[in-house]
């Protein structure tokens, strides 16, 4: 007992009896490397996009990657990171000045790292064509670059690395990056409209998350990255798992909390910090005096019951205080869940790319809910309704009825549960039921909160139209297909 007190007074590590936090550094680095190395997913020389949000876990991730890639590291990591920051200031309605302040701070943070970095806006996810034109901004910190030059090829940016031009380049690029953000006004307006039409904050958060995922995916695809690395910690992922279960996304819960998220076959999302708790990350940041940028979100300073995610976070942290094994229990449960990816593109949700979980039988929660809605609103519903428990058409939500959505009464469900419902395709505006069919349970909830389902982002509508065309094709050749999956 006295020894313990003495140790605490002298701040000596209990393991090696040397300087406090020395062993901690080793522990953190080891865990990080082990997480990446154990799965053998990241190959040498692979280009990996690292998502930086400016928060504490992103800063820790960045620092760990830097340490791992530097020359003096023991068995250094061998991949080529590129950083990306997605500006979500519009979500909370930040003013232009606050926006600029955040951007400059992020900019300096990313520049100091020495890796190529990109800045883009969340609204860009609505206009995915533009994503191609965003160039990487290269850090001009020459000293850092010399270290990194041997580690990676710098061919992503056109700016040469020269010391004397350094200052001019930096300021020029500052404006460049800010200009890029300015230019996309139409996408911004569209985004604001869509976000505004979702009524609940939980729905908005879901929507923002789906867009962010999609943007990262597209960006990585178009700039030649093969993997995306995110800095979610164990505590955040435990909250994520519970929130997913509470919002009906049980099937994707396993994907969201696994180390490797394989919902898209061509792009893998990795989460190397998933074994760390938020306390450990905070200590790490403190140890290395890392600066984080605080960016407010929809529920910052909000009431506990503002959104489901916020409530879950309060719940988990409260429970963790009393039962310290809560987060690890939740993570362990998440590990045991199956994160099998869907077979083909048609069984992906159009919005979040998760597997579709709506192909359930008649005895299921989905069918029961649909039946309840039917039976509670029998007076107002359309006569030709299809009451099947599978990917069938039409939800009879009162609000949607009254908003004059294009309800084409000629929609019929052929009763097959593989989504090949042949509804009337001559319309230019896809039928609402058709759109909802392509969404998973969780995204359906979000979509039904919007005033007009057709105002979903462009990539969703394109997906819907594509699937529609495919289902028409399939229906034509239906009789001759042998393997009817």
């Amino acid at each position: 007992m006295r020894r313990r007190m003495m140790r605490r007074l002298l701040r000596v590590c209990a393991v090696c009896l040397k300087e406090f936090l020395g062993c901690f550094q080793v522990y953190v680095t080891h865990k990080f490397r082990a997480a990446i190395g154990k799965t053998k997913l990241v190959r040498d020389g692979e280009k990996v996009l690292v998502g930086i949000s400016g928060g504490p876990s992103s800063c820790a991730l960045l620092h760990l990657i830097q340490e791992g890639l530097s020359q003096r590291a023991h068995k250094k990591l061998r991949f080529k990171p590129g950083l990306i920051f997605i500006d979500e200031g519009q979500v909370v309605g930040q003013s232009l000045e606050e926006h600029k302040v955040t951007l400059t701070r992020i900019h300096s943070l990313l520049r100091q790292s020495g890796f190529p970095y990109h800045l883009c806006q969340l609204a860009d996810s609505l206009d995915l064509e533009r994503v191609k034109t965003l160039n990487a901004c290269q850090s001009n910190h020459s000293a850092v670059n010399k270290i990194n030059q041997s580690a990676m090829d710098i061919n992503t940016c056109s700016n040469p690395v020269e010391g004397d031009k350094g200052d001019v380049e930096i300021s020029g690029q500052d404006e460049n990056c800010c200009d890029l953000i300015e230019m996309n006004r139409e996408a911004e307006k569209l985004f604001a409209a869509q976000l505004g039409s979702i009524r609940s904050i939980s729905g908005k958060e879901d929507f923002v998350r789906a867009l962010r995922h999609r943007l990262l995916l597209e960006f990585a695809r178009q700039h030649g990255y093969s993997k995306v690395m995110l800095g979610n910690t164990g505590s955040q992922l435990a909250v994520r798992l519970l929130t997913d279960i509470s919002t009906g996304r049980g099937m994707q819960a396993a994907l969201e909390t696994a180390f490797a998220d394989r919902r898209n076959t061509d792009m893998m999302f990795l989460r190397p910090l998933r074994d760390f708790s938020s306390k450990e990350i905070a200590m790490y940041n403190n140890l290395h005096r890392l600066e984080c940028v605080f960016i407010p979100s929809l529920t910052t300073m909000g009431d506990v019951g503002a959104s489901i995610e916020h409530l879950t976070e309060a719940f988990v942290t409260g429970l963790q205080a009393e039962y310290p094994s809560t987060v690890s229990n939740i993570m362990r449960t998440g590990e045991k869940l199956d994160s099998s990816s869907a077979v083909d593109l048609e069984s992906h949700c159009a919005l979040c790319q998760g597997p579709l979980d709506t192909d359930v039988g008649m005895s299921s929660a989905l069918a029961a809910l649909r039946f309840s809605l039917e039976i509670s609103t029998m007076g107002k519903t359309n006569g030709e309704r299809c009451i099947k428990g599978d990917n069938s058409v039409n939800n009879t939500n009162d609000e949607l009825c009254s908003n004059g959505v294009n309800y084409d009464a000629k929609v019929e469900c052929c009763g097959k549960s593989d989504g090949s419902c042949r509804s009337s395709t001559q319309l230019s505006v896809p039928d609402e039921g058709l759109v909802l069919q392509t969404l998973c349970y969780g995204c359906r909830i979000v979509a039904m909160e919007m005033d007009d389902v057709n105002s979903l982002p462009e990539f969703v509508m394109k997906d819907v139209a594509w699937r529609n065309r495919r289902s028409v094709m399939k229906a034509e050749i239906q009789d001759f297909l042998l393997d009817d999956r």
């Binding site: 080891h30 509470s246 049980g250 045991k336 809910l369 039946f371 009162d398």
Partner: protein
């Protein structure tokens, strides 16, 4: 401005918690009953000429269940025979009052009733158990004992199925609780509407998609009589946390309860996870996933004065058992290992036991368990090196009848 019923356009008197629609009384009754009928039909819960025991506790769920099942049986002609089965746990101030309600139900609905008590089955009442074990973890005892009691009572009545009044809120709470506890086996099973089909008596939950608030509303408007107090021991239950969470989420989004059930239904487990296998208890013949069923373990513990045998951490309990035996027999058994050390590998002094050192009590992929071969993990829990082979055989009959019993995986 008076609200209009969305179905018949008359004046509405309530708003459905499940969908938010305004309905009048008749339409609500109709909707409620039709939904349960829909659930029963599509899940194929009942077959003709079966005898169904309704688990009746006198609370709102079981009262409404008895009423609705009788109503639907008559209206849609399921052709089943209904009986009421009630369990007396021996909790004064709670259970004795609710039993009066059950007896009244029996008269009102004209259904035969059987009451079975813990006292007659096990020789212990819940009050006595709580005196031994305290206020935490007593729900485990009550739950395990009640499950067996229901099954034994049902066997005595010769029924084919048991119907319980678990509603949507209960199932949602169970899903959340199982995620928090990391119980993957239960997580997989808990959303099934019929459980226990192989071997034991199947139990079904006709109220699986019915909200608790709607049940209360139904009982209120139909003027059904029930006993509405919470069990006096429940405030300290772990389930309370899950319940509070569910209530809060429901406030944010009323459909969340069904969403959670949907999530629970769509969860799938990795194929290489070790799940408990069903077997038979050696002592009482009841189904069990271990050599000895939980109820027998608990009873043994209670009778021997070690009430935490069934619920505490297994190796610690074994150690206590060991110490108790040492005191009694005076024999020198193997010493427990230095379990307070923070060394990276678990050093058990009893070398022969190293491979059995608690690693059997945890899954191999359990991060917080003691895994002797993992380098980066620290031995957090006390590691009991008690070699089960040195345990005295007569006294500890619970650990198996053989001379060299295998260690029990609890």
């Amino acid at each position: 401005m008076p609200a209009i019923c969305t179905v018949c356009s008359k004046g509405a008197i309530l708003k459905r918690p499940k969908t938010g629609n305004a309905l009048c009384k008749e339409c609500f009754f109709h909707a409620f009953e039709e939904e349960i009928h829909h659930t029963i039909v599509h899940a194929e819960l009942f077959k003709r000429n079966e005898t169904i025991a309704i688990g009746a506790s006198g609370g709102k769920d079981s009262t409404v269940l008895a009423y609705v099942l009788k109503l639907l049986n008559d209206r849609h002609d399921y052709g089943v025979n209904l009986v009421l089965l009630s369990v007396d746990e021996g909790i004064t101030g709670y259970r004795d009052d609710s039993l009066e309600t059950v007896k009244r139900n029996q008269e009102q609905y004209g259904l035969p009733l059987k009451i079975i008590s813990y006292e007659e089955l096990y020789g212990w009442t819940m009050d006595a158990i709580v005196k031994q074990i305290g206020l935490k973890n007593n729900c485990t005892f009550c739950g395990v004992f009640r499950r067996q009691a229901l099954d034994r009572g049902a066997l005595m009545l010769k029924v084919d199925k048991i119907a319980t009044g678990h509603n949507a809120d209960d199932i949602a709470e169970t899903v959340i609780m199982n995620v928090l506890r990391g119980d993957i086996g239960r997580l997989r099973r808990c959303t099934a509407i019929t459980t226990g089909t192989d071997g034991a008596l199947p139990r079904c939950k006709p109220f699986k998609y019915t909200y608790e608030k709607e049940i209360v509303m139904y009982a209120y408007f139909k003027k059904l009589d029930y006993f509405s107090t919470e069990c006096i021991y429940s405030p300290n239950a772990y389930r309370g946390f899950a319940r509070a969470y569910i209530k809060d989420v429901e406030k944010i989004r009323p459909s969340a309860i069904i969403d959670i059930i949907h999530s629970g239904e769509s969860l799938s487990v990795k194929k290489d996870i070790r799940l408990p296998v069903q077997g038979v208890c050696e002592r009482c013949g009841y189904i069990s996933s271990n050599a000895v069923c939980k109820a027998c373990v608990m009873l043994e513990g209670l009778n021997k004065g070690l009430p935490r045998l069934g619920i505490g951490k297994t190796h610690k309990e074994r150690r206590k058992m060991q110490e108790m035996l040492q005191q009694e027999t005076g024999a020198a058994d193997s010493t427990p290992c230095t379990d307070q050390s923070l060394k990276s590998s678990c050093k058990c002094e009893n070398k022969t036991d190293q491979s059995e050192c608690s690693s059997q009590t945890y899954d191999s992929d359990n991060a917080s368990g003691c895994s002797t071969y993992s380098k980066s993990q620290k031995c957090k829990d006390g590691c009991s090196s008690t070699n089960p082979r040195t345990v005295a055989k007569e006294k500890l009959s619970i650990f198996g009848k053989l001379k060299q019993p295998p260690s029990i995986d609890f």
